[in-house]
């Protein structure tokens, strides 16, 4: 931002990940803390609100601010300190998980919690308080933050840790960027002895087996995740495949020096050695309808019947979504949405049976289902609980919108009745009433009170915040 900056000529269209939302706002790209402070002053002077945006990987409107300022933090992308002896990294908020693991893996470390894509930024990861396939064991990313600094919209700078400004620490992380801007984040990495994981895969014949294996299998592994064939009916409802992985112990990998190298981890750029991956989504498009995805899911399930153990690189195991660049474009012009629900282990099976059956009855099967095992955490706007999550992807079309909206509202009621929760980086249709019911009025009031302290002029607002928290 320089002296010739004009709001009109910074107007830009932003989309969610999934390309199902488009709104325009004023784009500001700060490179340091002073420029963030200047942006807040400009916002105040112009009567505009500010939303923080990283990689824009949220499935909903978390980083959108229609008609307001979008503060793009991707240029603040420096790893400030890295200590290979202790595994502690200090980084700016725009640093991506990709940058981070590239830095730390060759020294024998791995980020303790990663998302399904490595293109997310640390600021975004903390704002949403992401979890990975090890949530049952390692919790959310916030549990591995030793300290962070933040700039408040008032211009004040604060430092928070689980001990210092603890109330703000537990609210900033999970706080959706509504309290202030992370300016540096100090994170403890996890020590690894190899660039490989030992991955076990086995089929599960129905939802009951799926949830049983997630729960009973989890303690023996470091990571566990289920694929759920959401197109399967009747007896096979909830069938799928479990992938569970363990870190290798010291000495298990004689070639650890080689496998820890970034080059060894890198995902291939072509499929079968010939098809460039960045055009693959075009060939996937014709299959992204009810019949095509039924065929794919069925074939995948049949293929999964062969159990197996194999070694796989960290990147290949974790960043499945990055295998096919732009895969989300396969969902067509109107994009996709994801519906993720978190349910206590006692009620999950019954509730998801009801939801999957309902989606089939309405002719709106999800094209992809993913299950995970979770445990609760101490963050204010937490989505986690002792139970499971199921993420369902749905294609959006002009003709299914009204029906899908109705279906998801019914899902919300089922989830709430079963004591479930939601994740703000995923669901795009959560209503204020639903948020109030799963978070509780006390939590929302506490959050707003803290916001009143850090952001007294309410400069920080996103489309998500207005949609869910402004009643």
């Amino acid at each position: 931002m320089n002296s010739t900056f004009s709001l009109e000529t910074s107007f830009q269209v932003f989309e969610n990940f999934g390309h199902s939302l488009r709104t325009a706002g004023y784009h500001i790209l700060p490179t340091n803390t002073e420029q963030i402070a200047t942006a807040f002053q400009l916002a105040k002077k112009s009567g505009l609100t500010v939303t923080l945006r990283g990689a824009g990987r949220s499935y909903n409107d978390a980083s959108l601010n229609g008609g307001g300022i979008v503060l793009d933090l991707t240029a603040m992308n420096h790893i400030l300190e890295w200590d290979p002896a202790t595994g502690v990294a200090k980084a700016e908020p725009g640093v991506t998980l990709e940058q981070l693991w590239h830095q730390v893996l060759p020294d024998g470390w791995w980020p303790p919690v990663v998302s399904g894509t490595m293109y997310t930024t640390l600021g975004g990861c903390l704002g949403a308080n992401i979890h990975g396939k090890n949530n049952f064991k390692m919790g959310t990313i916030g549990e591995h933050v030793l300290e962070f600094s933040a700039l408040l919209p008032t211009g004040a700078e604060i430092t928070c840790s689980p001990k210092k400004n603890a109330d703000l620490f537990y609210a900033f992380i999970s706080g959706l960027g509504m309290l202030g801007v992370f300016t540096s984040i100090t994170l403890q990495m996890k020590h690894v002895y190899s660039g490989l994981l030992e991955v076990h895969a086995w089929p599960v014949s129905d939802l009951s087996a799926q949830l049983r294996d997630l729960q009973e299998g989890a303690p023996a592994y470091d990571y566990i995740v289920g694929w759920l064939d959401a197109t399967a009916h009747g007896k096979g409802l909830g069938r799928g495949q479990i992938h569970a992985a363990k870190y290798l112990s010291e000495g298990d990998d004689p070639n650890f020096e080689k496998t820890l190298k970034v080059k060894y981890q890198t995902l291939p750029s072509t499929f079968f050695g010939v098809v460039p991956k960045n055009i693959l989504y075009i060939f996937m498009k014709p299959f992204f309808n009810n019949l095509g995805t039924w065929a794919i899911n069925t074939a995948k399930y049949v293929a999964s019947l062969r159990k197996g153990v194999h070694r796989q690189s960290h990147a290949a195991f974790h960043f499945l979504l990055d295998y096919v660049p732009n895969w989300e474009l396969s969902y067509g012009r109107r994009g996709l949405i994801q519906y993720q629900s978190f349910l206590p282990k006692e009620t999950a099976q019954e509730a998801w049976t009801e939801m999957l059956t309902l989606s089939h009855k309405r002719g709106l099967p999800s094209y992809l289902g993913v299950t995970k095992r979770h445990r609760p955490d101490d963050f204010l706007l937490s989505h986690a609980l002792d139970g499971f999550s199921l993420a369902l992807d749905f294609k959006v079309t002009d003709s299914n919108r009204a029906k899908l909206s109705q279906l998801l509202q019914e899902f919300d009621q089922i989830v709430l009745a079963a004591g479930g929760r939601f994740y703000f980086a995923k669901n795009s249709e959560t209503s204020p009433e639903t948020a109030l019911r799963f978070l509780g009025v006390e939590t929302i009031e506490r959050f707003k009170k803290l916001k009143g302290r850090t952001d007294p002029n309410n400069l920080l607002e996103s489309d998500l915040y207005r949609r869910v928290f402004e009643m």
Partner: protein, 260 residues
Amino acid sequence: MPDTNIPAATPLQPRRRGIIVGASSGIGAALARRLSKEGYSLALVARRSDLLNRVCVEINSEYHEVRVIPIVHDVTEYESVPELLRKIVAELGGLDLVVYNAGVNFPPGIDQYDFTKDRAMLEVNLMGAMAWLNPVAAMFQSAENGQIVGISSVAGDRGRIGNPGYNTSKAALSTYLEALRNRLTRHGVNVLTVKPGFVETEMLKAAQRVLFAIPPERAADDIWKAIRRRKQQIYTPWIWRWIMLVIRNIPSIIFRRMSF
């Protein structure tokens, strides 16, 4: 800024956002009704607050939600436009479409010359359009997105004996819109010039004679169709395209002898 909340847009309930300048009656009000039926969230800008509020209440109560918000503003207050525009865009949550429909017609009477009237017409019909559409064009060009609609008139196609000021204002508006189009098309922004013939509005009272008059709702339908198809210019009703083709080609030697 009125204390009203436009419902949030979600992937399953998308909303396009627009501004209609000059929306308290006539074509503007009819277009507001048409676009809100298509799911647009709109800011309706007009000088006359009573009429404007009536239109807003009518539309919002029909859909049981806030689809339009009233903005009282006089288009000749040029300096206040950029700030007002920013406030409106924030309130709407973005911007996809701007319609400039504000227009006045003060015929001076045959053989009369009236600078006050001429200036008033130029100020509303042309200068107001430039005050609004310049910042809009800058924003749309930057976003590489959006559509601008200017309601000009068949009256801008020739200078005639009855109302030189009005002809001039509409001719200039058409030229201005053409220039915007030539600037913005390369940036993915569409500019539509609408040239209505006679439409049954208050302005029709100023007309000396009336031919093929249509209700404003029909003009609004034509304009909506053109917006959807991202057309560059339309006449409404369509017959004026052919009438004006003839009129535009009448040689001056004949045209200056006509009492038309």
